[in-house]
């Protein structure tokens, strides 16, 4: 694929008349099998390519993308992008394309994933369904495999390539009022253990057998990694440097200050081989070991290239997410507070107030109530209105960080006084 991409890049280089350009080519090979209610409902396979060219005449830009690779299509791609640029108004915030840079070597393409056959994927689903049927439950989910290749090339001499693989399997098991989910996603199918996933699903399922109604209140909560991922992802999104500098978010004037809790750090890291680590971002910011937040201090904020140039800063972009954990187990966390809840997942999180950094969302896939260090029963799902950066100041303990998504590694955390505001009927 790399050679094929390079020949497209050569053609573009030879034929572009514009003063500057950024070329981004990506190809994906997908196999996705969705199952629901103990049967496959959708099953998709195919390959696609996207060739995206941005050109500039001085600071007038135009962009075009296509998914055809013959010379006529490429010639048309250049023509469309250049015509748009010529007809366009100047962009005062235009930043010239990056020069040649060295970028970290990463290994995101895994043999075990590449070799996985559709027949094996269906077998994984059959076993997952069989487990559900054994308990009179329905299982729904998705088993997927992707291979992605990316090339980035600019007029000013940056040329970079990476490839990656991805395997995922999720299972939602439902019977009457019980509904719970596990999901696995990694670049390496070789690290997937279906029996372990099923065991985890079954234990979550068993824990939800007795449910009692529970009213919303402020209460300590043990947030499991899949829930935490959703929650802090939104905070990361609200950390943009430009928006902070322009006064639009809670992070305004907080750089270098202890704005978050002492126990909380958040990084993008090159040092964890199990994580998918992109060597450079979509706008060609080279990945470097970065603490966004270190022990509660805001150390770096994602900074787009224009803002970096304008404010004389270094551009920065998150390329994976790692929250360093601790060594507390859930059993130990339950003993640290008189009572509390355990949340498997959150759902439908949305910002309520950008300036305050406040979010709303629901729990999903099982909430447990504990008291005196022990799980007592399951409870109905709840709605929260919370401010994620504020919750980091209320972290009482962290568990070990685990792979939560192919590019995300997070711990379970115990947060005091989590603000639940409403409940639902199930």
């Amino acid at each position: 694929m790399k050679t094929r991409f390079e020949s497209i890049a050569e053609y573009i280089k030879k034929h572009v008349k514009a003063d500057d350009y950024n070329l981004h080519i990506s190809a994906m090979n997908q196999h996705e099998t969705r199952f629901a209610q103990n049967a496959i409902t959708q099953h998709i396979a195919g390959e696609n390519i996207n060739i995206n060219l941005e050109v500039a005449f001085e600071n007038k830009t135009g962009r075009c993308s296509i998914n055809q690779t013959d010379e006529t299509a490429l010639a048309n791609l250049i023509k469309t992008a250049e015509e748009m640029a010529i007809l366009n108004q100047p962009d005062p915030e235009y930043v010239e394309s990056p020069k040649a840079q060295t970028y970290p070597e990463v290994q995101n393409k895994m043999k075990n994933t590449l070799e996985l056959k559709p027949e094996q994927m269906v077998e994984i689903i059959r076993k997952s369904i069989a487990n559900g049927e054994k308990q009179g439950a329905t299982v729904s989910g998705m088993t997927e495999k992707h291979q992605v290749d990316v090339l980035f090339s600019t007029k000013n001499g940056f040329q970079g390539f990476y490839d990656l693989t991805d395997f995922g399997h999720s299972m939602t098991m439902k019977k009457d009022h019980i509904e719970t989910k596990v999901s696995f996603e990694s670049k390496d199918y070789g690290t997937f253990d279906l029996d372990k996933e099923i065991e985890c699903l079954n234990s979550q399922f068993d824990a939800l057998k007795t449910t009692q109604p529970f009213d919303a209140c402020k209460i300590p909560v043990i947030i499991r990694p899949a829930a935490l991922m959703e929650f802090y992802m939104f905070m990361m999104w609200m950390m943009n440097r430009r928006q902070a500098d322009e006064g639009m978010t809670a992070f305004t004037d907080q750089l270098g200050k202890k704005f978050l809790g002492e126990k909380f750090s958040l990084m993008s890291t090159l040092s964890m081989p199990e994580l998918v680590t992109l060597p450079f971002s979509r706008d060609s910011i080279v990945s470097e070991e970065t603490y966004w937040i270190r022990n509660g201090v805001v150390e770096t904020m994602p900074t787009p290239r224009y803002w970096a140039k304008m404010k004389n800063l270094k551009p920065a972009s998150p390329f994976n997410i790692f929250i360093p954990g601790g060594n507390a187990t859930e059993e130990e966390m339950m003993k640290m507070v008189p009572r509390g809840l355990i949340v498997n997942r959150f759902w439908y999180i949305r910002p309520v107030d950008m300036k305050a950094g406040e979010l709303t969302g629901m729990t999903r896939d099982g909430v447990l109530y504990f008291e005196d260090g022990k799980v007592k029963h399951a409870v109905n799902n709840l709605r929260f209105n919370e401010v994620p950066h504020d919750t980091t100041r209320r972290i009482l303990a962290l568990g070990e960080s685990v792979l939560t998504d192919s590019s995300v590694k997070l711990p379970t955390v115990l947060v005091d006084g989590f603000n639940f505001v409403d409940k639902t009927t199930f």
Partner: protein, 480 residues
């Protein structure tokens, strides 16, 4: 086109029980202007074909962007192989498809002036003028104009003998002004959610006037008071706001695939289960929801869906009672329906079609009632305009909504502007609390162009509509 025939013949010779091919070219033009900086001016297109094969009660779907006879035949074979594999994990005899006849038809979104043909300069000049107008206001820190134009050109053939030639398109201008003042930041947006029409709509909108209005309202909003404690209050919701409310609390729960649990692992399921059909009091007697893929300028209006089923109009909620769902050929038979309602849609050629919300709207009230009369008839309440924060549980019961602009109503008058207002409610409480709907003169359509659903995620679009309506006794308060 010869590939339609090649695919259909290949599917038949391989023994498919049913097959279809959808050759689709999607073109999107985007202009994104942020504080007078053209962040993105692009034309994106992708073209290819998706082939579905149905064999022994199971689906296989394969796609390709390579146009030649061998590749088309190979893609049919791949879809067949996948269908056979899918058959290894089916329930009983697997799925069945609702009966349908064949059609030979053409559909074009009626467009007087194709936005793709308008010179780029004309579009950018207009956007710049509007953007500058907003930036001129003291206190406006961010002004955004996002213009989206999209076209889908499809050729569809099925083994039933259907041959369709469909071109649909829509346009969506969106303008946002953000005011930063006194330690707070608040936005106001003009966004009608897109319409299946041409540039003529943009010409009618008077966007410069709209820009002034939203810039001024963003400044009013940033200085506005907040509601403190949550209380039971009366709400009056404008049609734009109701568009999203109905999308989330009526549209999604009445998609038959969700009802059947097909989205259990991701988007979620539905409380509106089949035993509730014909007896469940979803709303008050004046609440009537219609699914209508024949709606003029509707984003889901396309002549036919991606199952080759013609567009239809039907009651989803009638006189407050749950009446029917939006269905597809593979979901309808699961609850004993003979025919599909034609809600099967895919976003791009490489997506397998899924059960989508149709154009769905709340019928206007039958008695003459203006928004002014509705406000005058309300002692104490909040009037919400536009869309804001929204979140709903995965069974579509409990929800919390914000809005884009708020007025407190006191003694039948707009008393003071507010910000950070949230309301919490649930199904069926919410639609049962509806006690007044303005009449048809005030009914307005509002589109949704970014309805995320499915895995891999697809972006669906449909039009909603309503006249301003009143809801009693809803929990309304301020954010933290």
């Amino acid at each position: 086109m010869k590939y339609l025939d090649i695919a259909m013949e290949a599917a038949k010779s391989l023994g498919a029980d049913y097959a279809d091919i959808r050759i689709q070219k999607s073109t999107t033009q985007t202009i994104y202007l942020h504080n007078l900086s053209l962040k993105n001016t692009s034309t994106d297109s992708n073209e290819g074909y998706g082939i579905r094969v149905f064999k022994d009660g199971a689906w296989g779907f394969a796609h390709s962007n390579v146009f030649n006879a061998d590749q088309v035949a190979a893609t049919v074979k791949r879809a067949m192989d996948i269908a056979l594999l899918s058959g290894k994990a089916k329930k009983g005899n697997g799925l069945t498809l609702a009966a349908e006849r064949s059609y030979i038809a053409t559909y074009r979104t009626p467009v007087q002036c194709d936005p793709f043909q308008i010179p780029l300069k004309e579009k950018v000049d207009l956007m710049m003028e509007v953007n500058r107008m907003m930036m001129n206001y003291e206190g406006i820190r961010q002004a955004v104009f996002y213009l989206l134009m999209h076209k889908d050109e499809k050729l569809f053939a099925s083994t039933l003998g259907t041959r369709l030639d469909i071109t649909t398109q829509f346009i969506n201008p969106m303008i946002t002004a953000t005011a930063v003042m006194d330690g707070d930041s608040q936005s106001r947006t003009f966004d009608e959610g897109g319409r299946a029409t041409g540039w003529e709509w943009i010409s009618q909108l008077d966007l410069s006037e709209k820009a002034k209005q939203i810039a001024e309202e963003a400044i009013i909003k940033v200085k506005a008071d907040t509601l403190k404690e949550e209380q039971r209050r009366t709400l009056i919701l404008d049609p734009n706001h109701l568009g999203l409310t109905m999308h989330e609390s009526v549209g999604h729960p009445t998609e038959l695939d969700r009802v059947l649990g097909w989205e259990a692992d991701y988007a979620g399921i539905s409380f509106a289960t089949p035993e509730k059909l014909g007896n469940y009091k979803y709303g008050s007697d004046i609440v009537n929801f219609v699914g209508d893929n024949t709606l003029s300028e509707g984003l889901a209006t396309a002549g036919f869906d991606d199952d080759g089923v013609p567009n239809q109009r039907w009651y989803i909620i009638k006189n407050g009672i749950l009446n029917e769902y939006g269905s597809t050929r593979d979901t309808a038979p699961q609850i004993g329906l003979v025919h599909s309602r034609g809600c099967s849609r895919a976003t791009s050629y490489y997506n397998q079609p899924i059960n989508r919300i149709p154009n769905l709207y709340l019928l206007p009230g039958e008695k003459q009632l203006t928004p002014g009369q509705l406000i005058a008839d309300t002692d104490d309440g909040v009037y919400i305009q536009g869309r804001g924060s929204f979140s709903i549980d995965q069974h579509r019961v409990n929800f919390q909504f914000g809005g884009d602009f708020f007025w407190e109503i006191k003694n039948g008058k707009l008393h003071r502007p507010l910000k950070k207002v949230l309301y919490k409610s649930c199904n069926p409480e919410f639609w049962n609390s509806c006690d007044a709907i303005c009449d048809e003169r005030f009914w307005r359509p509002f589109g949704v162009v970014n309805c995320g659903k499915g895995q891999p995620n697809q972006t669906g679009r449909m039009t909603h509509g309503a006249a301003p309506a009143r809801f009693r006794n809803i929990r309304v308060g301020g954010s933290q």
